[in-house]
Symmetry: C2
Subunit: 321 residues, 2 copies
């Protein structure tokens, strides 16, 4: 069977990132793949530490995620939340019962002194996830959205207000003083291939890239390392989520080309959907190699196929005899 | 309708206490009744503050308790606990999903700086409980059981080890430095009738009575105040729980007389079950007035009937208009 022999670092946000990461995990062995996940969306609900993107990744790789939504767990119930609602708590953030256990456990372990990296490794271990899922940082970084309805915490904007406000700015509170997690730094050094997953460039990969040293390190052209990004925009619209709208609000073009411009200093190859083939010449004009491929990932086969294309770009498929 | 016009303070532990308190609450108006509850059983599970006796009282008065067990909520599910188990957490303490919401909310409010009294008032308000349920103290008191299997926290002994170890001692860690809660002190001053509910005298009323000033205050004979205790022992056995065994282990007689001896300095009248009528003379010999009554409370009618007997001892039934 064909295999890629190098080390891969995937940078991911929520559902789109988890889809590609799942594809990569189906091809790569656990020691080959490190998935670094955005924690700028983390929030405290009911006194519990919720890490939405880490959980989406965890549940996806554990085979437990809700196939309807891409986030949350399949077969969830909402008894805890109903009772919290009865107690007058704000319950606009939809936390299921099994999901609540994740937040309870994470919060307990954090309070006992574990780092978020350690907690995440423990949750992965217990759910049988063998590939490394690592938070971008063990320090607190919080994405805030400046809008026409005021400065909003990420989940406030994203879930409570359903991305309705017009966005004037995005900031990453704490990022300046946050260090990339040890696992992230290590993977960044080792990686033969860095994959920027098809995630929101402002809200998902943005917080990761703004961490001290990360963008600088990724911006270095290094022999033997390929940097591949996958566009989260297809045909001028985000596959899911508010990426296109936010990009427009902030003066970017909500196109694959627009995303390529945001990544041009940190990527060698930019994968766009076949629908956007017409943008390839302009992307090439940025000094980034455009590659067209089917990038919509509905089935597991789609996810594995896109992962395979990315790994092939890395030149790494040999035949295991 | 007949009514008792004075103020009542009920001291209660778990299920037995909640039964009598429910009876009292059906007769007395909210401003007449204060229920002070043992918190020596409180424990931290999964990083959450669990107050088993407060919750039993809360759920009972809210009409939400599980009629099969007397504790917990009717119609509970256990999804959170199952997932916590999957994460490798100790899950021998059976916490339901709706119950978990109580602990999540309580822990959150405590962490935000509220006292346990304030949190309890808030939970009562939200569940529509109008009678005051007050923790014995806002300070931490923890009941420990010295046993042949070592020194055990209360829930360790009671739930995990199912009361199986032989008991050598009972201690109340933190009690010396704990103050009775403000609501408790106030009710203690005001009460025309103090009712010691049929709860375990060592594990349930014990922690309440050992708080500084409480026993001294209750030991004072005060004109116009009646102190009534109800025996938790019937026919030499506890109605429920390990009271009889622990009393025996610690050298007390596991009889109503044995309980009367433990309370003789703080009660005027001691209510024993009709089955124990033969113990009445010996109880009278302690200087405590024995009263026989049906004390097994299965139905709501039983609970109200026993409450009514206690209130009548207080001389307080007059006819309205």
């Amino acid at each position: 069977m064909a295999h890629f022999s190098g080390k891969v670092l995937a940078l991911a946000g929520g559902v789109g990132g988890a889809k590609l990461a799942l594809g990569l995990s189906r091809i790569l062995s656990p020691d080959q793949l490190t998935i670094v996940v955005n924690t700028g969306d983390d929030e405290t609900f009911h006194g519990l530490h919720v890490s939405p993107d880490l959980d989406t990744m965890l549940y996806t790789l554990a085979g437990l995620s809700n196939p309807e939504t891409g986030w949350g767990l399949a077969g969830e119930s909402f008894r805890v939340l109903e009772m919290l609602n009865r107690y007058g708590a704000d319950t606009w953030f939809n936390l299921g019962d099994m999901d609540m256990a994740t937040h309870i456990r994470r919060t307990q372990l954090l309070r006992e002194g574990a780092t978020l990296s350690e907690v995440t490794a423990e949750l992965c271990l217990k759910l049988g996830v063998q590939h490394r899922i690592i938070p971008m940082s063990d320090d607190s970084v919080r994405t805030f959205i400046g809008t026409d309805q005021g400065e909003l915490a990420m989940q406030d904007y994203f879930v409570r207000l359903r991305c309705e406000p017009t966005v004037a700015s995005v900031s990453y509170m704490g990022a300046e003083d946050a260090r990339p997690s040890e696992g992230f730094s290590h993977a960044l050094e080792e990686a033969d291939l860095v994959a920027l997953c098809p995630s929101n460039p402002l809200l998902s990969t943005g917080p990761i890239l703004v961490l001290p040293t990360v963008r600088e390190e990724l911006a270095r052209k290094r022999s033997g390392r390929l940097r591949v990004a996958v566009s989260p925009i297809i045909g001028g619209a985000a596959v899911r989520g508010p990426a296109a709208r936010i990009m427009t609000d902030l003066g970017h073009d909500a196109t694959s080309l627009g995303v390529a411009k945001m990544y041009q200093d940190i990527c060698d190859t930019f994968v766009i959907d076949e629908q956007d083939a017409k943008e390839a010449p302009a992307i090439a004009g940025l000094g980034v190699k455009p590659v067209t491929a089917p990038t919509i990932m509905n089935t597991e086969e789609d996810k594995v196929a896109l992962a395979r294309i990315i790994l092939e770009l890395g030149g790494g498929f040999q035949h295991d005899e």
